[in-house]
């Protein structure tokens, strides 16, 4: 049995659960009362949507890296397609996270300044991380031979996965940043209202679930393409 084959029944069940779960998260995110804070006001609710994008990207990087590791360990090159699809969906969530962060900061801390790109350490580091994934996708196109492509891009993908925690979490915390958790503090300060955690943690689970749904859907398409053409995707 190929590692590309998806259990469609299980996929459909999880998909429906994820959709119901995230719908509840969105409703709770808008409807639950939160303390009003200057500058932030209602945008504090972005915590439920902007931050889970990064958790989701990290989860995607680990899924992708896991399959790349398996390619190298077992020589099961078909897993390379799973690594590719996870990296693609993860990068998609990363771009969403970057864009939502730009919009959020523009209309809160940077109101009246016309600053859309503020060179926040996190903003720079995640851009580098996204460029690393850009490099991964470009690198893949350099090989015609699927076995070679699978192995060499797996090595690069493991590097991308290893770099991610440092670029997203470790380095930005050592520098002055808009983000909580600068100066090495825990990211969640004690001023974050308890009611927000009630929505925030389920939101992380829900968006990682959404990643799984989108990624698995792409794997299904890739599997079909492979069955029809007998060629692995670039």
């Amino acid at each position: 049995m190929s590692t590309l084959k998806v259990n469609v029944k299980r996929y459909t069940l999880i998909r429906n659960l994820v959709f119901a779960w995230l719908t509840a998260v969105i409703l709770a995110g808008f409807l639950l009362n939160i303390p009003k804070i200057n500058i932030l006001e209602h945008t504090a609710r972005n915590l439920y949507f902007h931050v889970p994008m990064w958790f989701t990207m990290m989860a995607a990087a680990f899924v992708s890296g896991y399959h790349s590791l398996k390619v190298l360990q077992t020589g099961d090159e078909i897993r390379d397609i799973r690594a590719l699809q996870a990296a693609r969906v993860g990068t998609f969530f990363g771009i969403l996270g970057l864009t939502t962060g730009i919009v959020w900061s523009r209309f809160t801390w940077y109101v009246g300044t016309d600053v859309w790109w503020n060179f926040d350490p996190r903003q720079i580091m995640v851009t580098i991380q996204l460029l690393i994934y850009g490099g991964y996708f470009v690198l893949r196109s350099a090989f015609d031979e699927p076995k070679k492509r699978a192995k060499i891009s797996a090595v690069f993908n493991l590097f991308a996965m290893t770099a991610l925690p440092f670029l997203l979490y470790v380095i930005p915390r050592q520098m002055d940043s808009l983000h909580p958790g600068a100066e090495g503090n825990p990211a969640f300060s004690q001023i974050t209202a308890p009611v927000m955690r009630l929505v925030f943690y389920p939101a992380i689970i829900g968006f990682i679930g959404l990643f799984w749904v989108l990624y698995t859907q792409r794997v299904r398409v890739a599997w079909l393409k492979y069955r029809v053409t007998q060629e692995a995707e670039m």
Partner: protein
């Protein structure tokens, strides 16, 4: 000097409508369309809900419409996928799955 479109719109709005003293910023949006009929009846139940809390429920309604649209899109794509998977299984003999 940087000229942004948003600022140009804001300036035009400010010229047309001088700021009042009630603490609310007036723009073209708040009076451009109300010239015809100034509402006289009390807000309906639906309006009372939707206008509460700085009208955040209007945003919620918009987000939910988009979200449900995305759900329907993904589900329809899955349906298509299922039928294509079925016809591939029927028409292409099962080959060695390893690459």
């Amino acid at each position: 000097m940087k000229i942004s479109l948003l600022h140009a719109i804001q300036d035009a709005a400010n010229q047309a409508l001088p700021d009042s003293t009630d603490g609310i910023v007036h723009t073209a949006y708040d009076s451009l369309w109300t010239g015809a009929d100034i509402p006289t009846q009390t807000p309906s139940a639906l309006e009372q809900v939707m206008l509460a809390d700085d009208k955040i429920f209007v945003v919620l309604a918009v987000v939910m419409i988009i979200w449900i649209g995305i759900i329907i899109l993904v589900m329809r794509t899955d349906k298509h996928l299922k039928s294509v998977e079925r016809s591939v299984e029927e028409n292409i003999p099962n080959q060695d799955d390893g690459l």
